[in-house]
């Protein structure tokens, strides 16, 4: 927290959680996909569903997927901008369960190259967000720093491969989480880093035996 959290951020209204946070969720999903979003099927849960239209949550999510920042004055007209840039989208309601944060959303995305990504995320207040799952596997990260997400088979050695690559690239790990949906089945590791992870390091991981998918959240929009 600093002084500019007290006087700021500059944002398009009306709500830091339902508008600015929704833009940030869209931004993070776009960067996780790593390419232009061609189609987005968006499912609103709880308060996002109940008060989302009045707060412009729908337009904010689409704006975020288009790469607009939280203070971009095009946010209210994002549907028109999506049509112009050829991004298709749909909205529906969903019940993500009683454990889900009231301001939650599920996004099923397809990129222009056909890459697919399913994300659930929550806006947890003051514009802060949390990415709750990627492709059905639990995660818990804020999107505030470079984040590497590796899906792999649950077998020995993958953590060492990832961490030794990061050591080689001089990337310091800020936090690390491991999840699996069963012994020997699918696993995911989420590493929040202090520096950007170089592209060639990510490509090297993608070719490893047992690594199913690598998703990377960089801090810059590479479009």
């Amino acid at each position: 927290m600093n002084l500019f959290d007290m006087i700021g951020p500059v944002m398009v209204g009306p709500s830091s959680s339902h508008t600015a946070g929704a833009v940030r969720i869209g931004n993070v999903c776009r960067r996780l996909l790593g390419e232009t979003v061609a189609r987005a099927d968006i499912y609103l849960h709880g308060s996002f569903l109940a008060t989302g239209k009045g707060h412009g949550t729908d337009r904010a999510l689409v704006a975020g997927l288009l790469g607009f920042a939280v203070d971009d004055e095009r946010i209210p007209d994002s549907f028109a901008w999506a049509a112009k840039s050829g991004m298709e989208f749909s909205f529906a309601g969903i019940d993500l369960g009683s454990d889900a944060h009231p301001n939650s959303v599920k996004l099923c995305l397809a990129g222009k190259s056909g890459r697919k990504l399913d994300v659930t995320a929550s806006s947890i207040g003051g514009g802060q967000i949390c990415i709750n799952s990627i492709d059905g596997i639990t995660t818990n990260f804020s999107g505030d720093c470079p984040t590497l997400i590796v899906h792999n088979l649950d077998q020995p050695g993958h953590v060492a491969e990832v961490t030794s690559m990061l050591e080689h690239k001089m990337v310091n790990i800020a936090s690390m989480q491991l999840y699996r949906n069963g012994r020997g089945r699918d696993a995911v590791m989420v590493l929040e880093c202090d520096q950007e992870v170089p592209r060639d390091g990510i490509r090297w991981l993608e070719h490893l035996e047992g690594v199913e998918k690598v998703t990377y959240l960089g801090m810059t929009d590479e479009e």
């Binding site: 600093n2 002084l3 500019f4 006087i7 500059v10 004055e73």
Partner: protein
């Protein structure tokens, strides 16, 4: 950031002006230069001015519940038949302008939150104009407002969902009151007392948005927050003291917030949201797909 007014008052004894002490402390923590910080704060102040200037008196929010009121008030005040004209009238108009702009999805500065974004610009822009202050003086005063917000965030909360409206409009009002007192040449003790009186006046205010939207009563509560900031500052500048010290008022706000029922903390269930009309509006909007 300071954790208490005691810390702030100790820092105010330095040779540097208070706002500079606040800025330099933040720069150390955030590793940015004082010049960069000042530029950023000034740019933020300019956004407040742009929002005020760009107010569209014909715009309505998506729900249709708010909009056009700042224009109505301005017209009425211009007619001359006014009780609270002059400085106070302008403060009221400006609070409505920015808060309505927020509801209409315009660009605003969350200060400290989006729902309370009209309070500080209302007081600051009017003070700049009516008291003939420079933009740099206003930027300096914005640091004082931010530091007060920091103390409240540290000891209590700035979110309606945790502390009710007292944490949003109350905090914005306290920040504006302290900063206005500083701008008017008040001592650090007066800044502290203005803050304490502003927050005390709004203690217990619940967060009860109709249909869960940042519109009713949020927009009009920005007016009371802004007016309360001016009256609290005037009292402090006159030498009136708060009987309860500012730090203890903030602690009381936290304790009141935690005693507040969940229905009165941004859930859109209790208070005005729970009145027959409030519920009717909610149902109507749900029918319209809002």
């Amino acid at each position: 950031m300071f954790h208490s007014f005691d810390e702030m008052l100790a820092a105010a004894k330095s040779d540097k002006p208070l706002w500079e002490v606040i800025r330099d402390e933040d720069c150390r923590e955030e590793a940015i230069s004082p010049e960069e910080s000042f530029r950023k704060m000034k740019a933020t102040y300019r956004v407040m001015r742009e929002t005020d200037k760009a107010y569209d008196p014909a715009a309505k929010s998506a729900s249709g519940l708010v909009g056009t009121d700042a224009g109505k008030l301005e017209k009425y005040l211009e007619s001359g038949q006014r009780l609270a004209g002059g400085f106070m009238g302008l403060v009221m108009v400006r609070a409505l302008r920015t808060a309505e702009s927020n509801a209409c999805m315009k660009r605003i500065v969350a200060a400290p939150t989006a729902g309370s974004c009209g309070v500080i610009p209302a007081v600051f822009l009017t003070a700049e104009e009516e008291l003939h202050k420079t933009e740099d003086e206003m930027t300096g005063a914005l640091y004082v407002a931010a530091a007060i917000g920091g103390i409240i965030a540290c000891r209590a909360s700035l979110a309606g969902a945790s502390g009710g409206c007292q944490a949003e409009i109350g905090s914005a009002s306290a920040m504006a009151a302290g900063a206005l007192t500083y701008l008017e040449g008040g001592t650090a003790e007066m800044v502290r007392d203005a803050t304490a009186m502003a927050l005390s006046g709004l203690l217990g205010l619940v967060c009860d948005p109709v249909a869960g939207l940042v519109e009713v009563p949020c927009v009009k509560r920005n007016v009371i927050g802004a007016v309360n900031a001016v009256t609290s500052s005037e009292m402090a500048l006159a030498g009136i003291q708060s009987r309860i010290p500012a730090d203890e008022v903030i602690d009381a706000m936290k304790s009141v917030g935690s005693m507040m029922h969940g229905d009165l903390r941004e859930s859109g269930i209790g208070g005005l949201a729970g009145t027959p009309t409030g519920k009717e509006i909610r149902e109507k909007l749900a029918g319209d797909g809002n």
